[in-house]
Amino acid sequence: MRAKVYVTPKTGILDPAGKAIERSLHSLGFAEVHGVRLGRYVEMEIDSEPAKAAARLDDMCRQLLANGVIEDYRFEIGEEKGDER
């Protein structure tokens, strides 16, 4: 099954990349935007039992995909392959 992981900087952590993007959006005329944060998106296929997948994915996030000092994470486990827009 397909899994999607979203890693974002913790609130309170300096995010100069997010700010730079926000400034660029503003200069393009999108003045309504604020609080831009730049994160990371990882997707993968997981061949594990659905009951175990969430716990395994959680371990993956805590050990490697996200640095708990500076990042938060959440994930979605899809039903089938090709389940995306």
Partner: protein
């Protein structure tokens, strides 16, 4: 004493560290390959600068799982001396051997320049050849050198005197202008609670010869040498090579 310098795929300053220690300072250096499972009895392990694993995912995030790192962690937990320079500092934070994390420079630019750092703590194995308040001129070259940590962790670092080096101006003042990357509290280098693991963003290995800018970096290496060869040293357990 013997120094171990680790090479990960993508390490850059391993050879310069080996050169500075071996050729300039006359030390015995043992190269340690990332796949090795033995530290070969070295007295101090150095994790060098560079772009291990291309900085993929996060700088140091993948290097921390290299086979050699299991030995480095064990060595550190047993009180062995470990020094992480730049990418090495990032690896130590990712490995949980040092608190906090290094993130993208607040300017978003890769910064390559000379800095002045002030010795905040001379009572460490890494700075005992210095006096508190000494100013060291050390170069930096990094894109992700901004040290951050939770407020409580930062407080603990300051209270427990774990901040070893701080970015200052030429007169020794802690100012925002003197901060090259946005590090909280202008922190350039820290030690762990037991003061045997040291991480710093500046490069002492590029400051061991006056011909290329100065010799202040040698004082850190000499401090380690004094510690490792003196009575108060904590030496690594001897591990026969080949294991």
């Amino acid at each position: 004493m013997r120094w171990g310098v680790v090479t990960f795929p993508g390490s850059l300053d391993d050879s310069d560290t080996t050169y500075a220690l071996g050729r300039v300072l006359g030390e015995q250096v043992t190269p340690l390959w990332h796949k090795d499972r033995s530290l070969q009895g070295v007295d101090c392990v150095v994790l060098p600068g560079g772009f291990s694993y291309g900085d993929y995912l996060r700088p140091g995030a993948i290097a921390r799982f290299a086979p050699i790192m299991a030995e480095v962690v064990r060595f550190a937990r047993d009180g062995g001396l470990v020094m992480g320079i730049c990418n090495g500092f990032q690896v130590l934070c990712e490995a949980g051997l040092l608190p906090g994390a290094l993130i993208r420079n607040r300017s978003l630019r890769f910064v390559c320049t000379q800095t002045v750092v002030r010795v905040e703590e001379a009572e460490t194995p890494f700075t005992r050849a210095c006096r508190q308040g000494d100013l060291l001129r050390l170069p930096i070259k990094h894109g992700e050198g901004c040290f951050v940590a939770a407020e409580t962790v930062l407080q603990q670092l300051e209270e427990e005197r774990q901040v070893v080096l701080r970015y200052v101006d030429a007169a020794g003042r802690v100012t925002d202008e003197a901060n090259p990357n946005g590090s909280l509290n202008n922190i350039a280098g820290i030690v762990n609670r037991t003061r045997n693991v040291f991480g710093l963003m500046p490069h002492p290995e590029y400051a061991c010869e006056s011909a290329i800018g100065g010799e202040d970096g040698a004082r850190l290496f000499r401090s380690i040498r004094t510690t490792a060869t003196g009575g108060s040293a904590v030496l690594a357990a001897s591990v026969p090579s080949g294991l």
